[in-house]
């Protein structure tokens, strides 16, 4: 099984990458968290394959992601894009040989749609894998979409917004004040606490056990 570290916007300490073949840069939950300058190059110099996680995108976010992907492809620094936006999916048609993975937000749609249609759609758009953190979602994606599963651990996704819970705005530029500050939230009505990370609420520890047959494990690292 392949192993990956979710590196977010920054390059991690070399020790954190020991034994890994993949780095997943960027974010599925916030369009502001594209990797910083030089990050992909640093990851590549450490011998890693690189995946870029992307989120739902506004027009401004789409333009930034498109520009970033084009530059990374030209530099030979990108092997895969995790797609969560229909508009980005349409834009990515122009790249040959770029591996695509269904992100956890689009996976909700593409794990439920009618099987024959889903298989055609997945093939037509070149998806080979899907990101998942919940056993039922992984099973449906395998059965309906016929893709390999890239499993995220240890936290499972529960909800997302585009209104930054840390800085309380929608802006496309921010102070990255979420970094290194995952916030645990609880109340007596919740069966399990929540973890606020970027613009998403996760259930801590809920996806610690990967399903059989997952082709890649993606571990959340710091400072995220």
């Amino acid at each position: 099984m392949e192993k990956a570290l979710l590196t977010g916007r920054c390059a991690p300490e070399p020790a954190a990458l020991k034994g890994l073949r993949w780095a997943v840069a960027g974010s599925e939950f916030c369009q502001n968290r594209l990797p910083g300058p030089g990050v992909l190059k640093e990851l590549r110099l450490r011998g890693l394959k690189i995946s870029l996680a992307t989120s739902l995108l506004t027009d401004e976010g789409l333009a930034a992601a498109d520009k970033f992907i084009a530059a990374a492809r030209r530099g030979g620094l990108l092997d895969e894009v995790i797609v969560n936006d229909w508009g980005l999916l349409a834009r990515l048609k122009k790249y040959r040989g770029l591996r695509l993975s269904i992100g956890r937000l689009l996976a909700t749609e593409l794990s439920l749609t009618e099987r024959a249609w889903t298989r055609r759609f997945v093939k037509e758009h070149g998806f080979v894998s899907a990101e998942a953190d919940e056993p039922d979602l992984a099973r449906r994606l395998r059965e309906r979409a016929g893709v390999k599963i890239s499993w995220h651990l240890p936290h499972a996704f529960k909800a997302v917004t585009t209104y930054c819970p840390f800085e309380r705005h929608f802006k496309a530029a921010c102070g990255f004040s979420c970094e290194g500050r995952p916030l645990k939230l609880s109340n007596p009505h919740l069966k399990q606490p929540l973890l606020l990370v970027e613009k998403a609420y996760l259930t801590p520890g809920a996806s610690a056990r990967p399903p059989a047959g997952a082709w890649r494990l993606v571990v959340r690292g710091g400072p995220i």
């Binding site: 936006d85 349409a90 749609e109 249609w117 529960k158 585009t162 929608f170 645990k184 939230l185 609420y201």
Partner: protein, 314 residues
């Protein structure tokens, strides 16, 4: 095929100051449809429990016969009745339910509110045309995504609540020829992105009849912060910001204002009158400042989200 089912576009988007926005209201009964269509609504939308849609059962019509009568009512009044089918159709029932949607279109529904891309392909393959609206649940956040859905047969989108007017501006490009529908945001705003939220929520409840029986909804209740810094409430923009967004969406050329359906009929009625009042203020051409000033008075105590899910019929 009746004329209404063939139609694939409504009145063109008109972004001139003073343009009139269509008013769409979600209804559960013939009586509700009659009530709204004779008091300012241009369109109603209706669901059936047998056709997947994103709502609790109590938000649907009790019978197909009543829904058919509502179609006829809308036609008599020269107004529109849409079918809401805004959930993904499970594979096991897809052929049967897609055929049921097609039959209702043939019978005279003015259009269908959808989320499932496979349903669009089903219609295209059979040469069936109708006016498709993409629900907010379809996750259309940019102009490129809008083109993606337009190419597949969508004529209108309900703009996601989590887009600001500045972000959404490119989607109002008249060259795209899409109708854009907005919620009356100061009166109806969901804290997290609806189709991507699996927290305890009114949307997941069935036939809640007493407020005391409702579970605490995570997006509305206080949470204890793990860092010891007190309590946390899932944030959303304030009323004034949302009034300004509504003002800007109107002036960008939004062609329709939506009042969402709910099982609490009295609450939907209140939402309708308040939303209509705000819409008419915009159509009168009031200034931003005057709109915000009057709007704040109208929307005060509006966020009764949980109470929407107490079933009350009238």
């Amino acid at each position: 095929m009746p004329a209404a089912a063939k139609k694939t576009s409504l009145a063109p988007v008109n972004s001139k100051p003073g343009h009139r926005m269509r008013v769409l209201v979600g209804v559960r009964t013939y009586n509700e449809a009659e009530f709204y269509l004779t008091r300012g609504a241009d369109e109603v939308y209706c669901g059936l429990p047998s056709i997947p849609n994103h709502g609790v059962k109590a938000e649907n019509f009790a019978s197909e016969a009543e829904l058919l009568a509502t179609i006829d009512l809308a036609r008599r009044l020269k107004k529109q009745a849409f079918l809401v089918a805004n959930d993904v159709f499970p594979g096991e029932v897809f052929p049967k339910t897609a055929a049921a949607v097609a039959a209702l279109v043939e019978r005279g529904m003015s259009g269908v509110i959808i989320r499932d891309l496979a349903l669009l392909e089903y219609f295209k393959k059979r040469g069936l045309k109708t006016y498709f609206t993409l629900s907010t649940l379809g996750l259309c956040f940019n102009r490129e995504a809008l083109k993606f859905f337009r190419e597949r047969g969508v004529s209108r989108i309900v703009l996601p609540q989590h887009l600001t007017p500045a972000e959404a501006r490119p989607m109002f490009d008249r060259k795209l020829g899409m109708d854009i529908e907005v919620f009356c945001l100061p009166l109806f705003y969901e804290v997290n992105i609806n189709s991507l939220c699996s927290l305890s929520c009114p949307c997941s409840q069935e036939a809640v009849t007493d407020v005391k029986d409702q579970r605490a909804y995570t997006c509305l209740t206080a949470l204890k912060r793990g860092d010891g810094a007190g309590s946390y409430a899932m944030p959303m923009p304030g009323s004034k910001a949302l009034l300004n967004y509504f003002y800007d969406f109107y002036h960008l050329g939004a062609s329709c204002m939506k009042v969402a359906r709910g099982p609490n009929g009295e609450e939907v009625k209140e939402l309708f009158y308040k939303s209509l009042l705000l819409t008419r203020l915009l159509e009168k051409g009031v200034s931003r400042e005057a709109f915000a000033h009057e709007g704040l008075k109208i929307v005060s105590s509006a966020q009764n989200y949980g109470k929407r899910y107490i079933v009350k019929r009238y």
